[in-house]
């Protein structure tokens, strides 16, 4: 069963007719050719499909496109200004925070969303005092970025990169 929806993707308005079964991730990748968000597991268990959905990081594989009519999607491609990478991307390049690159766009969106969450004062499971404001140390970054698996094992560099980008 098809349904017409409108999505804002990296600033572009896209109107398309989707099968209700199509996830947001598949709509982006297979219908709109936006392949920056990756399919690593298709079940919310790896984080490679993470995008900023209406400003917040979200796994795009576990939400149907049809449920996101009129939503705004920003991918790692949209975070860069042409040749100029976003500061998180710049820091990942400098710190070699990736190898194969397949988890990377999800790591980027997740990190950008995560830094906003910290700015809003959101605690994490490792935040000692829930009443206090959050200080973004390495344990906080590790915990908050644990929804993004990296099989190449670049975590140590990813943490350093995010720490630098946050400064």
């Amino acid at each position: 069963m098809d349904s017409e929806i409108t999505l804002w993707v990296d600033g572009r308005r896209e109107t398309l007719s989707v099968d209700t079964r199509t996830t947001l991730l598949d709509a982006l990748r297979e219908r709109l050719g936006v392949t920056s968000p990756k399919k690593g597991c298709d079940h919310g268990q790896c984080g490679a499909c993470t995008v900023l959905l209406d400003g917040r990081r979200a796994t795009s594989c576990l939400t149907f496109a049809v449920a996101n009519d009129e939503s705004e999607v920003v991918t790692a491609e949209g975070l860069a200004e042409g040749d100029e990478p976003h500061p998180v991307q710049r820091a990942l390049l400098e710190n070699d925070g990736f190898q194969c690159g397949y988890c990377t766009p999800g790591q980027v969106c997740s990190a950008v969303g995560m830094l906003d969450e910290v700015k809003s004062g959101w605690p994490s499971y490792v935040t000692e005092d829930l009443d206090e404001s959050v200080e973004l140390d390495e344990d906080e970054i590790r915990e908050r970025m644990s929804g993004n698996l990296c099989r190449c094992g670049a975590y140590a560099n990813i943490v350093t990169a995010i720490r630098e980008a946050a400064e």
Binding site: D19, K38, C41, A76, E77, L92, F98, C150, R151
Partner: protein, 693 residues
């Protein structure tokens, strides 16, 4: 302490870095193709038997379905000796999850839905998927099962030496089935046209894929193109093409030129693309009063598949590591009705060195000798068994440098006596080793474009290792031009033939090829070549091959914390110091070591594919059930290396760094966990219940 340490001269950033951080680098499934169709496989739900009937009526009625393919309507493939590639050639089922058909449709959604509607009936036969030491299933692999080593080795009299030894260890270690799980699932787009077959494929060597798929379909190699500019991790699972490539190409025979796309689901990856087989290893060590080994015995039993033999040889880790006058090494296989195992990062070494280096720690404890010192006392002058000189061997330097940097000398050797809050704290060490391999047969083309710009082509692949960057550097260095003046092309059969990315041999093999091709280019065209001047050449045979024993070495140090109440294990700190010949690009090389060590942490703490022998399949077949280390599981990981100039290994002096990082990590962590708790766990992974008291 911050994450990974940074080299003073970091080397260029990854050439394809911008494309990767923005997600614009195209992986196999992402290549824009006109009018694609989507494939969803049909897979066996029994472990052994045969398909007796297939009813495709309901599936064919689904809107958008273009083809239901089974062994009834699949064309005959040419037998090329690889059972994995011989898909849909009969009704036989050799393992659960085997490919037995496919639905091809206009959308992924329709294909998946229609596949659910295909009704398959089976004749079940008894199966055996229970890995165990039982004469019914255990055999000795042929000597030619592994091209490099015979399965067994016997020197001296191990039993007599053990009987006389001052200190002995006799311990059995077990390692589980592990799955590679690269983040990019195996994926392929196949399209046939008048010129032949084009595959956009995720692999570790496009030429190898072509060389196997072309004869399978009975076509000339020149009529098959394989394009793989970016590969989202592989770790051995993309080394050989698996059944899905054949299946997709087979389906695309029926679609009148329309491309067929297929990406495996994560769950399918637990059955169709190989795994590290489980092992059961007995290690017996005997030492004299000073801790010098007088006997080394290592017997390994590993799983293989009745469907397709894969002979891993974990016990071979003990052939050349330490000096020992008496030595026995045996490798046995247990054949079961399971999918075929394959190479996984440091195949043999990862599991074998876990056993040997854990046993060395046990020996150190029983002899009351510091484990770093124990290893230094057993350092061979020439390679054991072969008697060859080492091309270079800097394990002692790695151990000493690592011990210094880690603060090893302040260590109290007593186990189970340090506690910080709820956590028991310990440290451990293990040595690493991996052979330095060189794969012959690669070619590179060097072409002077104009104005000092060069185009270098080699059909290598960058699976995340940084080969695109390292080869560009090596080409620029040999050409004596800036890195920016070299444009490197790889990742496709459009480029000259190259060996596969494996065995940590990529930079050694391809780098030597590029350097030798530049020499040939200069010989032919001089230092002021005309525009369009071009030479294709490869590297010759290494005159030192067979004259020296060639390995990388390393020493790994781990701090481990074990929760006194819950048994949870944490690794807040690791240090790896390696000696691996020339390091071409410190920035990307560090990531290779770091990545190997991180996968080693994952192996030590988490990885375990649980087989339910009643069904014959892995039950925790997704990333929520099969844990790989997440960000919070990895603390500070420091990586460094010893400057090492090795004139013998190959023309670029590179020893290989892709796999050694995972070798020894699990032992270092297990040894540290023992130091923390006094509990010796000999069964990976180190899950909390094993430390509960």
């Amino acid at each position: 302490m911050t994450g990974a340490t940074r080299a003073t001269s970091p080397g260029p950033e990854r050439i394809e870095g911008h494309a990767k951080v923005t997600g614009t680098a195209r992986y196999a499934f992402e290549h824009p193709v006109a009018d694609p169709l989507y494939l969803h496989p049909l897979r066996a739900t029994i472990a052994r038997g045969r398909v007796t009937s297939v009813d495709t009526t309901a599936a064919e009625r689904v809107d958008g379905v273009r083809l239901v393919l089974t062994h009834h309507n699949a064309e005959a493939l040419v037998p090329i000796g690889d059972p994995e590639l011989a898909v849909l050639q009969s009704d036989e089922i050799a393992f659960r999850g085997q490919l037995i058909g496919a639905v091809v449709a206009e959308t992924q959604e329709s294909a998946a839905h229609a596949a659910d509607l295909v009704e398959i009936r089976y004749e079940r036969m008894a199966h055996d998927s229970d890995f165990r030491d039982d004469a019914d299933i255990v055999y000795t692999p042929d000597a030619d099962a592994s091209p490099m080593l015979s399965p067994d080795l016997e020197e001296g009299d191990v039993d007599a030496a053990l009987a006389d030894a001052a200190f002995t260890v006799d311990a059995t270690y077990t390692t589980p089935t592990e799955h590679h799980n690269p983040l990019e699932p195996h994926a392929v787009i196949a399209a046939w046209d008048d010129d032949g077959l084009t595959l956009h494929d995720s692999n570790q060597g496009s030429h190898l894929v072509r060389d196997l798929i072309a004869p399978l379909f009975g076509v000339d190699k020149e009529r098959v193109s394989v394009i793989s500019p970016h590969v989202g991790g592989a770790f051995g699972s993309k080394g050989m093409p698996h059944g899905h490539v054949a299946l997709t190409a087979l389906a695309a025979r029926h679609t009148a030129g329309r491309p067929v796309k297929y990406a495996l689901s994560r769950t399918q990856m637990f059955e169709l693309v190989g795994y590290r087989p489980p092992t059961r290893q007995r290690v017996r060590l005997g030492a004299d009063r000073e801790g010098r080994l007088v006997a080394t015995e290592h017997d390994s039993l590993e799983q293989t598949s009745r469907f397709k033999q894969y002979a891993e040889q974990s016990a071979s880790a003990s052939r050349e590591m330490y000096t020992s006058p008496n030595r026995r090494v045996t490798n046995r296989l247990a054949a079961l009705d399971v999918p075929a195992p394959t190479w996984m990062r440091a195949p043999g070494e990862a599991g074998g060195m876990y056993a040997l280096e854990s046993a060395m720690d046990e020996l150190a404890v029983s002899a009351g000798i510091d484990p770093v010192e124990l290893r230094l006392r057993n350092e061979p002058e020439v390679a054991p068994v072969s008697g060859l000189p080492f091309s270079s061997r800097n394990l002692p330097a790695c151990l000493r440098e690592g011990a210094e940097r880690f603060g090893w000398h302040e260590r109290d050797p007593r186990p189970g006596v340090r506690r910080e809050g709820d956590w028991l704290v310990g440290t451990g060490v293990a040595a690493s080793s991996f052979p330095s391999l060189f794969f012959p047969g690669s070619l590179a083309t060097i072409r002077h474009e104009s104005g000092g710009k060069y185009r270098v082509e080699i059909g290598a692949v960058d699976i995340g290792t940084g080969s695109r960057t390292a080869l560009t550097q090596l080409a620029a260095e040999a050409l004596e031009v800036p890195v920016e003046a070299v444009e490197l092309w790889l990742g496709s059969t459009e480029q000259p033939h190259a060996s596969l990315a494996g065995g940590s041999a990529g930079t050694a093999s391809w780098g030597s090829t590029v350097v030798e091709a530049v020499r040939a280019f200069r010989t032919e065209h001089g230092h002021d070549p005309v525009s369009g001047a071009e030479t294709t050449a490869g590297a010759g045979k290494n005159p030192d091959a067979g004259e020296y024993a060639m390995h990388s070495y390393g020493a790994q140090f781990a701090e481990v914390r074990v929760n006194a109440d819950t048994g949870e294990v944490r690794v807040p700190r690791m240090l790896g110091v390696f000696a691996a010949g020339r390091i071409v690009n410190p920035r990307t090389a560090r990531s290779q070591f770091l990545g190997g060590m991180t996968m080693g942490i994952s192996m030590a703490l988490h990885e375990h594919s649980v087989v339910d022998e009643r069904f014959g399949h892995v039950v925790n077949h997704d990333l929520a059930g099969y844990h790989i280390a997440g960000n919070a599981d990895v603390g500070s990981v420091e990586v460094d290396w010893i400057d090492e100039h090795d004139p013998h290994v190959n023309p670029v002096g590179v020893k290989g760094i892709g796999e050694i990082g995972i070798v020894g990590t699990a032992a270092a962590i297990g040894n540290a966990a023992h130091h923390a708790t006094g509990v010796r766990v000999r069964d990976l992974p180190l899950t909390p219940e094993k430390f509960l008291r």
